[in-house]
């Protein structure tokens, strides 16, 4: 079991409140996506969960506070797929995935046979076989994103955070990566918290959505609860049409207001 809860989480950055009273529950093995306009605080909330920023309130996993965990313990509990992962010059895919074992390698030590076994299995299951000796700088966007996922999964953490994991990918590769995350979530019973811009994608993959605006949770619930035309239009200052179809699920379409008024 690994249910993640945030209780009254508040974050101040440079004297400005960027998150206010965020209380959310992500059940074990479920997928919550944070949506909201730019600057709503999605990434900040993810950073609070990883302990990278100080916060008020409480963040807990199965009732145990994450605050106060040492860096290594935290990295074994929460793994992150960053928005713009750095591609270290000259590092091979094998060594890159092995970075995920850092919280298990002793301070002055090197990787054990078990670390190699864990990463070897992930390289296989994420379809990176044959690329192990390639430098990460030579990979395509889709290949590199799979390597980043493999590195995060090598941490064997029950909680997986994804910060705009598809922002640098085309439609096909974005779909592949999200399908992969969803499969892995089911196989490994991962608790997933993602920040996504694309609302249609968010609706398709998430069990629940939390809509953040200016640091506060404006709506939280199933995609159908949150993605209403009225709410999306108001919070994003956008003109949208929300279509719900049994075959495609919820689709959020931007609409040019001039075209909308003609029809």
């Amino acid at each position: 079991m690994s249910t993640l809860t945030t209780e009254h989480v508040a974050v101040d950055l440079l004297g400005k409140r960027v998150l206010e009273d965020v209380s959310l529950t992500v059940r074990s093995g479920s997928w919550l996506t944070l949506v909201g306009p730019n600057g709503a605080g999605k990434t900040t909330l993810l950073r609070a969960i990883t302990g990278a920023v100080d916060y008020g309130g409480q963040i807990e996993l199965d009732g145990d506070p994450l605050r106060g965990l040492r860096e290594r313990e935290r990295a074994r509990t929460v793994a992150v797929v960053p928005q713009m992962p750095v591609r270290p010059e000259g590092m091979t895919v094998q060594d890159y995935v092995l970075l995920g074992r850092t919280p298990y390698v002793p301070y002055f030590g090197v990787e054990s046979a078990e670390d190699l076994a864990v990463t070897g299995e992930l390289i296989g299951s994420l379809d990176l076989r044959g690329l192990e000796a390639r430098p990460v700088t030579s990979l395509s966007g889709g290949e590199f994103q799979r390597a980043v996922l493999a590195r995060a999964l090598a941490q064997q953490a029950p909680v997986l955070l994804l910060d705009e994991p598809t922002s640098s990918l085309d439609l096909g590769h974005a779909q592949q990566v999200l399908e992969l995350v969803d499969d892995l979530r089911r196989q490994r019973d991962l608790t997933v918290v993602a920040a996504l811009h694309d609302l249609t994608t968010a609706a398709q993959y998430s069990d629940r959505l939390a809509l953040l605006v200016a640091g506060e949770v404006v709506a939280e619930g199933t995609p159908a609860d949150v993605l209403t035309e009225e709410l999306v239009s108001r919070c994003y200052g956008a003109s949208v049409r929300v279509v719900s179809d049994p075959d495609t699920g919820i689709v959020v379409m931007p609409v040019r207001s001039s075209i909308g008024s003609e029809s």
Binding site: T50, E71, R76, V80, P82, E89, G90, M91, L99, T102
Partner: protein, 336 residues
Amino acid sequence: MTASQRRWFVAALGLLTVTLLVGVTVGPAGLPWHAPVTDLLNRLPNVQIGDRLTEQQSAILWQLRMPRVVLGALVGGMLAVAGAGYQGVFRNPLADPYLLGVAAGAGLGATLAIVGGAGVAVLPVAAFAGGVAGVGATYALGRTAGGRGTHSMILAGVAVAAFLTAVQTYVQQQNTDVLRQVYGWILGRLLTAGWSEVLTVLPYVIAATAVIVMHRRLLDVLSVGSAEAGTLGVQVARVRLIVVLAATLGTAAVVSVSGLIGFVGIVVPHLVRMLAGTSYRVILAVSFLGGGAFLVVADMIARTIAAPAELPVGVITAFVGAPFFVLVLRRSRRAW
């Protein structure tokens, strides 16, 4: 280490061994290249290989040349490892062991010692104290100015170095009679009185190199940046502090006896990166060996090219190192 990394390690070890052997035998009193090995073997009972060295030759070999090349290897190795360590923690290709004010501090310390008429024994102590004080000032200034970031630390180093260099230049201009002596020290030299300098710096070099090498895996993790390294469970600030501290102490110790030998800390780690790969598992060990070999060769040139006069070795490291470095840089397509 992978098989290829091991090959580079063995190659660097071989290179250092050869340069050490050649280094002790090059000079006005010609000695055969195998002299150190055969002289050692000839000391064993019932062994006689070739002609025995005369007492004078033996003294030149073991009391003059050997401490000098060993010191060269230690200084070059330490500067190269410290440079690699700085480049790793700051993720900055221009970082060198003198980045945080150690050179300016040591320069001021040495100048004050020379101006004050202090003996040869005091000069290294003054340079060491100056170097450590310079880095201490940088650290204090960087902490108050910008918190945890590395940029504030590097900028504080620039400010401290400029300030200390200004003071040093002023003191030097007020005492023009020692100008030549101060200048000679600043350009770096490996003149030694014997084994005492080697024994002075040895513990620092061993301790500092060991600490930096033990962080080789964490330096690799830092190559994804401090934010990502943090999510992977690395205490970035602590690793940075320990590596910088070790690199600084080691650098301060070696420059206290050798003066400010430039370029080794930048050129050697970059050459190793281009040739042997970007993992610190190979960079640190091979840089130590390669840096040692580089300085021994540079010193060999410094004491033979204008014999019987001797050029400052720092002139050679830059004069030979810079064009060579540019050549390799042009041939290598790998960006930093």
